[in-house]
Subunit: 412 residues, 2 copies
């Protein structure tokens, strides 16, 4: 990896020559425009231009994936893998302007009937410029007291409608049930019927009580999503009350907000990806999770949602595993920026064996909403069933055999 250039990989689909299309990408996102400009000297181009580093045509398709591309009389619609590189000198090690540079207008160019950003690679200057996850897996295990295996987690449900006291009562039930981790739903941050400060106060009283009695402090991710100054203040309140995690919705807060939070935070940041579907659902448009998550990892996301196997959404299992593995792959040798993957969405005692088999680690948060609260024998049985399923997965015992001596597992 060059120390003075950053790179991005794309999957493109184009009715024109892939080489010409890739050069148009490079021009649009650096010193070119649609006509020759005075002042765009050869020297300036050499210094500032993006370069096509790699181009491989991978297939032809008969129909364009997206409408609006230029008609071309010249031949087939082709898909190709393209890598572009830019001089760091164009923007400096600046995540916000990196976003405008690697993404920007590309998705709208007439040359393309499909364009998806697959990955980015950044030189070490970016690692030095941003906080990255300050807690990650190790810090999360330390604060939650869960030394091995996944953190078994859940989400406050109903998603919205509970006041502070009802939320605290639910937390009491879940703490008694042996839960490791609880998060606010992303629909609840500071609603008038469930004000943030009162919720923190009520919930932390319960969590601290349990911790005093049992020595185990449940990690609760309080949803601080809001304006920057409010997020900083809410984070500080959680610290003051002895809380151990804050949560933010990435697509609500945005990158400047997350960087501000990342620089400020003294607790793990639980990053929620709600809205991810509009960025990713069409396979020939938008963002791969691998590329997109790198912005947030560098900004400071300690936990990142990756959906779950056999989830209630559209995403297939391969995609979920690819996302989770990417979070566990270092971004820089000196500063790996590993975020802890959060599995959720329709998760129950069914998915752990396959999740463990495919991921190869239990360094993750495993969150089940209905899977715990709606367990026929109650939340404690729900938590037990998840933990037993994970224990079975990790110890390599088939879940069916394991259930003979662990009855809660059988019921799911």
């Amino acid at each position: 990896m060059s120390t003075d250039r950053f790179e991005a990989d794309y999957l493109i689909e184009t009715p024109v020559s892939p080489q010409a299309a890739a050069e148009a990408m490079a021009g649009e996102q650096s010193s070119g425009t649609f006509v020759k400009i005075p002042g765009e000297t050869q020297e300036l181009k050499e210094r500032s231009s993006a370069r096509v580093e790699y181009l491989e045509v991978i297939e032809e398709v008969s129909c364009p994936s997206l409408s609006g591309a230029a008609q071309s009389p010249e031949g087939p619609i082709q898909r190709a893998m393209v890598t572009l590189s830019w001089p760091v000198e164009n923007i400096g090690p600046d995540l916000l302007n990196l976003m405008a540079t690697v993404s920007g207008n590309l998705f709208e160019l007439k040359q393309f009937s499909g364009l998806r950003i697959l990955d980015i690679r950044l030189p070490d200057a970016f690692a030095s410029a941003y906080p990255g996850p300050r807690f990650g897996i190790e810090g999360t295990r330390r604060l939650s007291g869960v030394g091995t295996g996944p953190l078994i987690g859940t989400i406050v449900k109903p998603s919205v409608g509970f006041g502070p006291d009802e939320t605290a009562r639910l937390v009491d039930t879940l703490a008694s049930a042996g839960i490791d981790f609880i998060k606010d739903d992303e629909l609840q941050a500071n609603g008038p019927s469930c004000p943030f400060d009162e919720r923190v106060d009520a919930v932390m009283r319960v969590i601290n009580d349990h911790a005093n009695r049992t020595g185990k402090k449940v990690m609760f991710a309080f949803n601080i999503t809001g304006e920057i100054d409010d997020m900083r203040r809410r984070h500080d309140l959680v610290v003051a009350k002895g809380g151990t995690c804050v949560m933010a919705s990435l697509n609500s807060v945005g990158l400047a907000g997350m960087i501000a939070l990342g620089r400020h935070a003294e607790l793990p940041i639980h990053a929620h990806r709600n809205g991810w579907g509009y960025l990713s659902r069409h396979p020939m448009l938008g963002w791969s999770y691998v590329a997109w998550s790198k912005f947030w990892r560098l900004a400071g996301a300690d936990h990142m949602h990756v959906n779950g196997l056999s989830n209630k959404f559209c995403e297939d299992d391969d995609s979920v595993i690819t996302s989770a593995k990417s979070l566990l792959t270092p971004m820089f040798s000196e500063k790996p920026c590993i975020s802890m993957p959060v599995f959720s969405s329709g998760q129950s005692a069914v998915q752990p064996p396959e999740t463990y088999r495919r991921l190869g680690t239990s360094d993750l948060i495993y969150a089940a909403g209905g899977g715990i609260m709606a367990h026929p024998d109650g939340p404690a049985a729900g938590v037990d069933s998840l933990r037993q399923s994970w224990d079975a997965a990790i110890s390599g015992v088939e879940a069916e055999d394991y259930a003979l001596t662990h009855p809660h597992l059988l019921e799911h």
Copy 2:
């Protein structure tokens, strides 16, 4: 419009019953989840649930637009218009959590082979809670001294590669050419070779010189895209140097960043939408501009990009005009939040008559990059040709006749 509920309109495509699909949307984004939860009482549901306010099936399609939806044996794939409403009480008048609520997980639900958010409607509590555009059309006209007609604008080109002095020399040329408005390219904010502070210093010296001589101060939108505290500081520097506009890339900065800037700004905010393609390009996924722009208008965007007619991108003219008209349509009766539309992308003297005919107003910024700098007779002729084309459009004279007495027009 109810004072205690907000609404969102969607275009959905589903292989299941549209009524059931709409109810799943309402459940997912309020008090429901995929199983019945203890605590989700009838009283809580009545207080907190989203409601399906409207549903109209509009057509059947033979193929799903997006893969991943549930297979249904029961019948056709149907498209429908759906309106949901939520109690403001769920989130309060909070734009960030509104984003999580009206968008959130909807785009990923298995019930949908297509889902696009078309519009949102907010009660007055939101108007009171946010700054909205502080300058808009009137303030922009006052600061730029352009009382009638469009602001004729351009973009610093090459997009990246110029240092502060070269940028200032270009601004000198453009100011001499009679330009009203110039913006930094979105690829240049604070690059090491073109540091923000030095650029502001060099550019404002030129602009202030021209203003002292001619009485006309060119409005320059300095790209302050960056971290929150940097944006505030850069904004203050522009104010101190006598500048009249700042610019931010919305999809880089994000909503928390823009709200912080909106609350802080004493200058018009020029809002750049680069990245818009990944949010919008598939017609059955993501965001309509009408819905999306309302978040930024309320946050304080004074100018918003809408592309241009016969542009270099994929967007068709109808979509461009719909976007621009929506910005000129009040959001609230007491606080209209009108943002000035910015037309750009491959614009020249060709498009003004049709733009004016379809939009019905010249309350806009008309930005041409190559269309000015690459004019065969130089930038002054480029500016003249645009202004003459607009004058012709506004005065109802056919451009061809007008050109007989205005020679620069003929050359485009």
